[in-house]
């Protein structure tokens, strides 16, 4: 593996430019060059860390058959376009760009490098050589909701959320639906912090929620600050993206883990076999792309069993995360009993289920 910093990438860009398209020639025995563009540092213990684990899984699978390159800390926007272009220029044949804000830069670079295959995480646009992929985090939220319904003594959860986009709204709703199946009076108080990452604000948000009756916190922001606040108060919280239990050994009940490795291994196999094609992939717990990190021992066995049942029911499809009847928080029925929200409805979701105050 070569760990390039942005600076080194720029330095080598000149040299690489003199070897145009070398990497896209017939492979022969040369390893497949795969690159990953990361938003944060690998050590963020969240989003980027999870992608890095995915890359490690791919290396474990293919060994010398692939040669991977990573670039960390790539800001979204123009900076990322330069990084992606340089990676394409260096002969990488498959490039994973792992943040929403890389969507347009990825498409732009892909137009120029038609022989390079691109994979963009969490976006909604595709092209001939740009596929997109995301994971059904909301399925993991449902498992958290089941646990919260059992474990919360006040029946009130705090939910620290970034921005009201469908991905976040799905999570809030799935969490609340599952919790209310256990405790019909369960309430979820959503606190928008208008940021993916502001540790001090996330910690203060957790305090504000705890001070007003919540005893358990779920979050859709990236830092472990809220978990630390829960640990200090002796209360409970769920981790985000990866196991964050080292920050809050007692408070951390479980976390939703994004298991990208399973997708990376599959896509690399397709490139190696020469049958890669574009498309949009939305894998969940069934495929293993979303997993729960180990349950905290403080969760009683029967609650763990209930959480596992929620997971298994989602996996075999018997009780989807969004199974009817569903009413929204104004009392209007959104889905009758027996139905389930389809992907189209989920991707456009802009309302909250009963029990959510947002």
């Amino acid at each position: 593996m070569t760990n390039f910093t942005r600076r080194n990438i720029l330095k080598t860009a000149g040299a690489a430019a003199t070897l145009p398209l070398l990497g896209t020639m017939a492979r022969g025995t040369a390893p497949l060059k795969v690159a990953f563009v990361y938003l944060g540092p690998i050590g963020d213990h969240g989003w980027t860390y999870a992608h890095e684990q995915g890359r490690q899984a791919a290396i474990a699978q293919y060994g010398d058959a692939i040669e991977t390159t990573i670039v960390e800390n790539v800001a979204e926007g123009p900076d990322s376009e330069r990084v992606i272009r340089n990676l394409a220029e260096q002969g990488n044949e498959l490039i994973f760009t792992t943040s929403f804000g890389y969507m347009n830069p990825t498409l732009k670079v892909a137009k120029r490098y038609k022989n390079v295959k691109f994979e963009h995480a969490s976006g909604y646009k595709q092209s001939k050589n740009v596929a997109s992929y995301n994971a059904r985090y909301y399925q993991g939220r449902a498992v958290c909701g089941t646990i919260a319904g059992h474990m919360s003594e006040t029946g009130v959860a705090g939910y620290i959320a970034s921005f009201p986009i469908p991905e976040v709204v799905q999570g809030i709703n799935a969490f609340t639906l599952a919790a209310r199946k256990v405790n019909p009076d369960f309430q979820t108080r959503v606190l928008w912090v208008s940021s993916w990452y502001d540790p001090a604000k996330e910690a203060d948000a957790a305090k504000a929620l705890f001070d007003q009756g919540a005893d358990i916190i779920a979050q859709h922001t990236d830092s472990p600050a809220a978990l630390q606040a829960a640990e200090q108060r002796g209360l409970m919280a769920f981790g985000q993206s990866w196991d964050m239990s080292s920050f809050a050994p007692t408070a951390h009940l479980t976390a939703i883990q994004n298991n990208w490795g399973i997708y990376y291994v599959d896509r690399i196999a397709k490139v190696l076999a020469g049958n890669w094609s574009t498309g949009s992939t939305w894998w969940g717990m069934k495929e293993g792309a979303v997993e729960m990190s180990p349950f905290n021992d403080r969760i009683p066995a029967e609650v763990q069993a209930a959480a596992i049942a929620t997971r298994d029911n989602i996996i075999d499809g018997s009780v989807p995360a969004f199974a009817g009847p569903i009413s929204d928080n104004t009392g209007t029925e959104r889905l009758a009993a027996g139905g389930a929200l389809d992907d189209g409805a989920l991707n456009g979701i802009d309302w909250y289920v009963e029990g959510v105050s947002a």
Partner: protein, 307 residues
């Protein structure tokens, strides 16, 4: 609001206010000497990362805070050398210092991501510090009391001490101070160093107390709020104390009202309040034109001794 909630709210406000108060107090002294250092955010981050690193190695938060003050002072001295000795543009250099601080702190912190430390406890014994009501006064760590004490110290220094008068003279009229034999550059170096130390302590408050961990850009823009606060306070220490707590109340109120489901005031408006208030104060100052309420006359101007 019941008593428990009120007291919890005040505790959160004090936590949110203390680091910006420290950083802003340092910047106030810097600006009083006629230097504008926009690198507060960068210095805070340098302090945050070094304070955390040293605390996680030694297990002693006080040592971490002292190291944070020293390293942020070193960062400030780079700024001082560029702007005072080489008379570089202060605005550009200050912005560069922020960018430098973000990058340097990321680099230094790389090996410390994911570490945890024990949070500094309150100064007073548990009987007082955990009392349901008295904890408002006694439930804080040493940095909170230090920040209040420093306000008093700086206010006294600027108003009553000879050195403080010299510093203000340098900030109001550098050429006059120079002509009667004071070292303008020397005074400004000292002021910038003090500003760095205070920003470093303020930054370390995030990594050691509020969110005891290291992550990139941990301070998430609080340095800019500190800069706004200096203007908001009209360069007066006691008003700075009021302003810091006002900003803290506004930032915390945004979260507490949202958590309570109260939407009387748009949360976006509350989030913007520190900046709106600063603009309002700036407008008032420029209307009033009374001496003392204005910016130091030489603020941001490079000084070249004529001889």
């Amino acid at each position: 609001m019941n008593d428990y909630l009120l007291i919890s709210f005040i505790m959160t406000v004090i936590g949110a206010s203390t680091p910006i108060l420290l950083a802003a107090l340092g910047e106030l002294v810097v600006e009083k000497s006629g230097v504008l250092n926009l690198g507060v955010e960068g210095m805070m981050l340098v302090g945050a990362v070094t304070g955390f690193a040293v605390t996680s190695i030694t297990g002693m938060p006080l040592v971490g805070i002292i190291v944070a003050a020293i390293t942020a002072t070193l960062a400030a001295l780079i700024f001082a050398y560029l702007t005072l000795t080489l008379t570089a543009n202060q605005v550009a250099t200050g912005l560069a210092l922020t960018i430098f601080g973000i990058g340097l702190s990321s680099l230094l912190g790389e090996g410390f991501v994911g570490f945890t430390i024990d949070v500094m406890g309150p100064v007073f014994p548990a009987g007082l510090a955990e009392h349901p009501v008295l904890r408002v006064v006694f439930g804080h760590n040493v940095v909170v009391y230090f920040s209040i004490a420093m306000i008093g110290a700086v206010a006294w220094f600027l108003k009553k001490s000879r050195a403080g008068l010299i510093l203000r003279a340098v900030g109001e009229s550098d050429s006059s101070a120079h002509s009667i034999g004071y070292s303008v550059i020397g005074v400004r170096y000292a002021a910038v160093a003090f500003g760095g130390a205070m920003a470093g302590i303020g930054g370390s408050y995030y990594s050691l107390v509020l969110t005891p961990m290291w992550a990139e850009q941990l301070t998430a823009g609080r340095g800019w709020i500190a800069l706004a606060l200096v203007v908001f306070s009209a360069w007066r220490p006691w008003r700075l104390l009021l302003g810091a707590y006002f900003f803290g109340v506004v930032m915390t109120l945004e979260l507490y009202t949202k958590a309570a489901g109260i939407t009387l005031i748009a949360p976006e408006l509350l989030a913007a309040m520190p900046y709106i208030a600063t603009i309002a104060v700036l407008a008032l100052i420029s209307l009033r034109k009374s001496a003392g309420a204005q910016a130091p006359a030489c603020l941001g101007q490079p000084f070249k001794p004529s001889t």
